[in-house]
């Protein structure tokens, strides 16, 4: 158990830093699972699994769009947590789908961190408003930097707590679950299909769009068969 402390702490730091990109600063999309999971995988010695995990979670949450002031569920936590589970050897690499399924509840911690940050920002805004009235613009800018750093802090904390629960749990699940090869692979394919179905279902309702979809399937089959 003690050998998990350092990798979990390190992965939480990584999550804290990279999650700043999600909303607080930049939005270069470094926090997308497709980018963040391979990066963490590289640091934890499982880059190939990192790429795979990133692609699967990216597809699952493909349809999560932050329209207006709506904050959708994001795949950053489950993706990084899966990398930690594999990287620390809690689950053998061949049983990667177990890591995917066990790490899914971490979206709750992600939501908590995001909500907490936005609530704390209300206080920061009130303070900044008072500083504007006093003409202290230097302090307003400090409040802004503080808010950005807090985004990282809340994500660090939430990831640390969710990892402390879910990473050891993955080992227990892997131990108890009977080895069924078809079952494991089906569990890995489902997130991919869910994301594709979500994105397609919204557009396929328009009649003509079927043609584009069918053309894509045709060329995909052609590329795969050739």
């Amino acid at each position: 158990m003690m050998d998990l402390v350092v990798p979990i702490f390190f992965a939480s730091l990584f999550t804290g830093v990279i999650s700043i990109d999600r909303a607080a600063f930049g939005q270069f999309q470094l926090s997308r699972p497709m980018v963040a999971a391979p990066l963490l995988g590289l640091l934890m010695g499982c880059p190939a699994e990192g790429v795979l995990i990133g692609l699967i979670f990216e597809l699952l949450f493909l349809d999560s769009l932050p329209v207006g002031s709506f904050v959708p569920l994001e795949a950053l936590y489950p993706a990084l947590l899966s990398v930690v589970v594999i990287g620390t050897g809690q689950v053998p690499r061949s049983a990667l789908p177990i890591a995917l399924v066990v790490s899914l509840p971490s979206v709750v911690a992600d939501r908590w961190a995001d909500n907490r940050w936005r609530r704390v920002n209300e206080r920061i805004f009130s303070r900044a408003e008072a500083y504007v009235r006093l003409g202290r613009l230097d302090l307003v800018q400090i409040q802004m930097v503080l808010a950005i750093l807090q985004a990282g802090f809340f994500n660090f904390l939430a990831f640390l707590l969710s990892s402390a629960v879910l990473v050891p749990m993955a080992a227990v699940v892997a131990e108890k679950l009977p080895a069924l090869p078809g079952l494991l692979l089906a569990a890995a394919l489902v997130p991919i299909l869910t994301g594709l179905a979500a994105l397609s279902s919204r557009r396929l309702r328009k009649g003509k769009e079927w043609i584009g979809f069918a053309a894509g399937v045709f060329f995909g089959l052609l590329a795969g068969l050739v």
Binding site: F28, E58, N121, I124, I148, G182, L189, F213
Partner: protein
């Protein structure tokens, strides 16, 4: 009316860098309010002391638009404040943020991002390692261009707000990229189905997923249903594999 200052490269760079933090203090009552003021502070410092104070007070309030297009609104406000049209600048800001928010959501979240993700995933079937660089390059080339040029466009074309955004790029994205999302989904589905070694199993689950979404199930419910179906059918499927070989 005061003489209008030229927006120098340095001014634009300062506003651009700060615009990256537009959502840095996002909160429920005022949303991007503090971030918007944060973009404008270096520009407001060029105004005289009372103008500076008043401008800061005017623009410390509610603001919410698409983060990538906030630079455009900031450009418009910077120009108007500099011309001494403080009150009108508040009306312009409030009038622009709604339409630009809707435009940006449709353009960036519904088209550019899924398009870039699908491009990255499409590439991953041939070179898995290239997926993230392709996605980042594709996405950020459009994202950063729009952020950078939006500030100058807002500052120089105050009278025709939406003409200031690179309209040709917008048209290309809307028609070309929007139209490519479904073919890309089809391409990836075919790749996954063939790569899995159990194409009918994958196609069946996909059709079930689409049907559940049409019946208004949400993502997690569909995931649960498909997982259950896959677990039941998974007993029958031996020799399946993931489509990506590393």
């Amino acid at each position: 009316m005061r003489q209008v200052m030229r927006l120098s490269f340095r001014d634009q760079a300062a506003m651009f860098l700060r615009s990256l933090a537009i959502q840095g203090a996002w909160n429920y009552p005022r949303m991007q309010g503090l971030g918007f003021l944060f973009i404008l502070i270096p520009w407001f410092r060029k105004l005289d002391q009372s103008g500076f104070q008043n401008a800061c007070r005017r623009h410390m309030g509610y603001f919410n638009t698409h983060p990538f297009l906030a630079g455009y609104v900031a450009g418009v406000v910077a120009r108007m404040e500099q011309e001494g049209k403080g009150r009108e600048s508040v009306r312009a800001r409030d009038g622009l943020m709604g339409p630009l928010g809707a435009l940006g959501d449709g353009l960036f979240w519904a088209r550019v991002r899924p398009g870039a993700i699908l491009a990255g995933i499409g590439v991953s079937f041939f070179w898995p390692w290239a997926s993230a660089p392709v996605f980042l390059l594709f996405y950020n080339s459009i994202h950063l261009k729009e952020r950078w040029s939006g500030i100058a466009a807002g500052y120089t074309r105050e009278e025709e707000p939406l003409g200031g955004l690179s309209s040709r790029l917008r048209k290309i994205i809307s028609v070309f990229l929007g139209g490519l999302i479904l073919p890309a989904c089809g391409f990836i589905l075919a790749g996954v189905a063939l790569g899995s070694g159990a194409p009918w199993f994958v196609a069946g689950l996909f059709v079930l997923g689409v049907l559940l979404f049409v019946l208004k199930f949400n993502n997690m419910m569909v995931l649960g249903c498909l997982l259950t179906a896959a677990l039941v059918l998974g007993f029958l499927e031996v020799g399946m594999r993931l489509p990506w070989s590393m």
